[in-house]
Symmetry: C2
Subunit: 183 residues, 2 copies
């Protein structure tokens, strides 16, 4: 095959793969549209019953965190989040007894979904905004007076994100020297 056509094919394939890695989309009234394919995004980590308060939440829920592939690849290269990063927090119920399982916990239905977006053109300051989906496919913007903003700004290991709870990314941020002192 002629080198020109080969280069054209490779360029087109890269574009097609990148097109699957969505930038955030919003409804006309400014809600974040739940990415329909977020379960095929990059999984960062999962927790069970995590709490930043002295008393634990009851009942404990699983928290799965996903990020869009384009932002993940930038993080792997640089240790930083690019503009248009979207993190999706999926909260699922936990079950202990079921099928042959007799102890510990496995995941069951979705309880609620939250989003954390970096969009410099849309949001003030460093561009991060939180959205609460509940079980809907569109997420309401949380006002910047909510505690989550101050807490993430104060304790984020990288930018306003809790990379301290994503062990793979934590290693990358250490290597790249992008960890804050405040986590």
């Amino acid at each position: 095959m002629a080198p020109f056509v080969t280069r054209l094919l490779l360029a087109a394939s890269s574009v097609a793969c990148l097109l699957a890695q969505n930038a955030p989309k919003y409804t006309a009234d400014g809600q974040l549209t739940l990415p329909p394919d977020y379960r095929e995004w990059i999984f960062l980590s999962s927790g069970l019953g995590m709490t930043y308060q002295p008393e634990a939440s009851r009942p404990p829920s699983f928290t799965n965190v996903f990020v869009n592939p384009a932002a993940y690849r930038t993080f792997v290269s640089t240790g930083k989040w690019p503009d248009k990063t979207t993190l999706i927090l999926e909260i699922r119920a936990s079950t202990s007894k079921g099928s042959i399982n007799q102890g510990g916990s496995f995941q069951s239905g979705v309880v609620a979904i939250e989003g954390h977006v970096k969009d410099l053109a849309k949001f003030p300051g460093n561009g991060w905004a939180f959205f609460a989906f509940g079980t809907s496919s569109s997420g309401k913007l949380l006002p910047h007076t909510e505690d989550c903003y101050a807490c993430h700004a104060e304790h984020g290991a990288v930018d306003d994100t809790f990379v301290q709870f994503y062990p793979g990314l934590l290693e990358i941020a250490k290597q790249k020297g992008t960890l804050t002192d405040r986590h």
Copy 2:
């Protein structure tokens, strides 16, 4: 752009995307090579301290399960696993106190990795085989006399896999009518 070139570009882009969705690879002595990009595969679910025995394992570990994207897409379409499916079970330590977290559990370092492969040309019966990586990048084949084979054959919700613990796939298998009666 001429329609012929457009079709050529689309075909090439599909091939390039598919090439990223690895079939299982083996070393010369028959060990399974750990897919270097398995953390970018499709996340199925996570458990904490799951046990199929009366007494719980101590200390509890997280268990993350990933599948290669090509097999996932086939499952979404058909409710069945294709030949060359690879499931990776990543076992991680759990931590409770760290950074601002005060209760519940989050994930820390990798303890061990296991693999479950369907490869009809290589393995007897229905083609499934288990591999134990420990913390190595090559996984030893577990002999078919190990308990895991009989347990998965006896209790697998789809084929020899524990889809009963992957809530998204469980819904798909229900819709497609591919659940066994034995889970």
